[in-house]
Point group: C2
Chain length 417, copies 2
């Protein structure tokens, strides 16, 4: 148990000590509304967390994740110092998930039920995050609105370049060639589908249940003269029909829900041709763990990043063969740094449209996500797979890298009319 210095008397003293324990005695100074403050003995605090009133302190203790997120959003908690450093310190200190406390456990069960990913539930969950307004996302994503982890061949690459590199990395993993029929499950604003059509000559059917995103993607296809090659379908992945040379899903599995991976497997099995290539890109975990209660409640309802073990539910029933798994978590930390920087540059415009609480919530979400990927609390997995009996698979992965990749690309490029 930590020794706290200069503590106020009475019940707050006890509460404050509980709080310090709840965050694993992370090297932080906790400052209360009455000016009393404390810090685990012998550490140099990385930042100060100011708690402005007793109800906020109580909420923090009852459900630390929700208490912190809501308190920060409402301005009842302030962080003096670097928010990212503060969050990294807490994540490192609490690397083992705090589990058996009854309020968080009850809240988790309640949210599991309330946010279940039925056909209707998924639509509601997705609407909450992705239909905020395309204009908002345009302020801080890259020009193509790619809202998934980029691929930085080089740390100093721009976000625009890194998103193009990511799309090429995906297409190389799928060994896309002109004329390939591709189905995409969860297509965001359509950037990858359009890229596969334009740069690789593929024909794409792309599914999404976010209305705003589909409307945008269709307009974009029209503007780029790709409407005959790319079809955007406003429907759930469970309703995908047809047979395809490639199945691709980037950033959707997190939203599918652990209990629906077998449904996902059924869909992939149904629509992948015998020599088809499959690809899933998703946020994952090293160990089973839910998203924070705050993230689930305020940011991503219904979402849960799986461990690789959990993700195997998509594959094992159907004799799919995993060919390649890559972990890109540091790329996601870097991607999110770009997003946060752009977000902060547009802070005033976003405040005008959505109010200061929205800005604080999204700052916390983006910063927390950087911290999660930076400290290894979250992973980014890319899984490439094929049918178990398919021998039409690459011997090595050299085609993804260096000169071999570029040479292959130039052979692949369709002749533009």
């Amino acid at each position: 148990m930590s020794l706290l210095s200069r503590i106020s008397l009475g019940p707050d003293r006890w509460l404050a000590r509980r709080l310090s324990m709840a965050i694993g005695n992370a090297p932080l100074r906790i400052l209360l509304w009455d000016g009393s403050h404390f810090c685990p003995e012998g550490v140099r605090p990385l930042a100060t967390v100011l708690i402005k009133d007793r109800p906020t302190l109580l909420k923090l203790l009852l459900e630390p994740e929700l208490g912190f997120g809501d308190g920060y959003t409402a301005g009842r908690i302030e962080v003096e110092g670097d928010l990212l450093e503060m969050l990294c310190a807490v994540f490192r200190a609490t690397a083992r998930p705090l589990s058996s406390r009854w309020v968080p456990a009850l809240l988790t069960r309640w949210m599991d039920r309330r946010q279940a990913n039925s056909l209707r539930g998924s639509r509601k969950n997705i609407h909450h995050h992705y239909d905020i307004g395309n204009d908002f996302y345009r302020l801080w994503l890259d020009s193509r609105l790619v809202y998934t982890c980029a691929y930085f061949e080089d740390d100093t690459a721009s976000l625009e370049d890194a998103q193009i590199a990511k799309m090429n990395h995906v297409c190389r993993k799928l060994q896309l060639k002109p004329g390939d029929k591709v189905v995409e499950a969860g297509c965001g604003w359509g950037s990858l589908a359009l890229h596969m059509a334009k740069e690789y000559g593929a024909t794409v059917r792309a599914f999404n249940i976010s209305h705003e995103q589909v409307v945008y993607a269709r307009r974009q296809a029209g503007q780029e003269g790709l409407s005959s090659q790319v079809e955007f379908v406003e429907d759930d992945y469970r309703n995908i029909t047809g047979r395809f040379d490639a199945f691709v899903s980037v950033g959707m599995l997190e939203h599918v829900g652990l209990d629906h991976y077998k449904d996902m497997g059924v869909v992939i099995h149904r629509c992948l041709s015998d020599r088809g290539r499959g690809f899933l890109h998703f946020i994952g975990r090293n160990r089973p763990q839910r998203l924070s209660a705050w993230t689930r409640k305020r940011i991503f309802p219904g979402a849960c990043p799986p461990t690789l073990r959990q993700a195997m539910d998509c594959f094992e029933d159907w004799d799919f063969s995993i060919l390649d798994i890559e972990n890109l978590r540091l790329h996601y930390a870097l991607t999110l740094r770009h997003w946060l920087e752009r977000f902060e540059k547009s802070r005033e415009r976003i405040t005008t449209s959505f109010g200061p609480e929205f800005v604080r919530a999204w700052r916390l979400y983006l910063t927390g996500a950087i911290a999660s990927f930076h400290t290894g609390v979250m992973q980014l997995f890319q899984v490439t797979f094929a049918r178990g009996m398919d021998n039409n698979i690459p011997m090595t992965r050299a085609h993804l890298y260096g000169a071999a990749a570029e040479e292959r690309e130039s052979r692949c490029m369709p002749v533009m009319s």
Copy 2:
């Protein structure tokens, strides 16, 4: 049910039909001792399986895997035509494991108990296969006696080159550098340990419970002047102690047993430094499935190739982060083709030493293994991992390929005295 042509009357007729069903009506002609033969209607048989007596037919029906293996070994079953093609046809036709039949199920349970991988049991299991005699393995392995999947950067590479390429591929994945302390669990005849010392300047402690292999490896270290850099320890992986910069295990996890993966995780957690890199290379499965009863009984007692889901038992308790998984099953098919070809060239010498039944059993094992990897019944996974919080991990895998790999190697090479 298949229609059989020209069938003998009496109970053999019924038995033969059962046999054809048991191998999924694979396109094979079955020829009995009395000259009667049959083939699923409308197929062109790939080979003829001659069953020389009724007891052999009965054993085949009771336990097809053991019945075939033992019958073939004893010369009571002959295959006219290509054995590899025949086995591939059966594996394809029976891709879904035949499970619920009671004789195979009982046999599996009996072997699970009898071949359990306790400290003593593992020693017995390993002794059965790896202590046959180094002279035998020298006849058909490469000159370094690497008895695991090679890596063919190019289909036409020699086995020698492909084994060197494999060892370099492993060392690149581990990002080995001069001075690194490495522990190897299950080191065979020591080729990788010696390669890591000689080519990368690492110091290696290599564990193995095969007495013959350890004796050979120590002599080899002496001859190459590497005894001060590489220590071969005749002990079980569960007894590894110390802290290391890298943990590597190539071709051992198959022998560990599904119920000991958590022990393996404990060992890795205990001995890997905070910035250590880990690497497991093992035969695996797309779906949970035991080795064939014959393989377990005659070739690899106690062995079981895991699915990736099963292998995750090594990692999830300890916040290890999977960085990279590669599937090299086609490389193993190619490696085994080289081994079989060399084996057949030494057939006469092996017959003289071990007798004709041994030769037939090993031909079946090697050919069956080619068929397993070729048809996708077995996989070869290479898993690279690190501690969850370690950010000292490569951003991309470009360092494994092409010019980048070679350039890095030349910087890595220790100055030889």
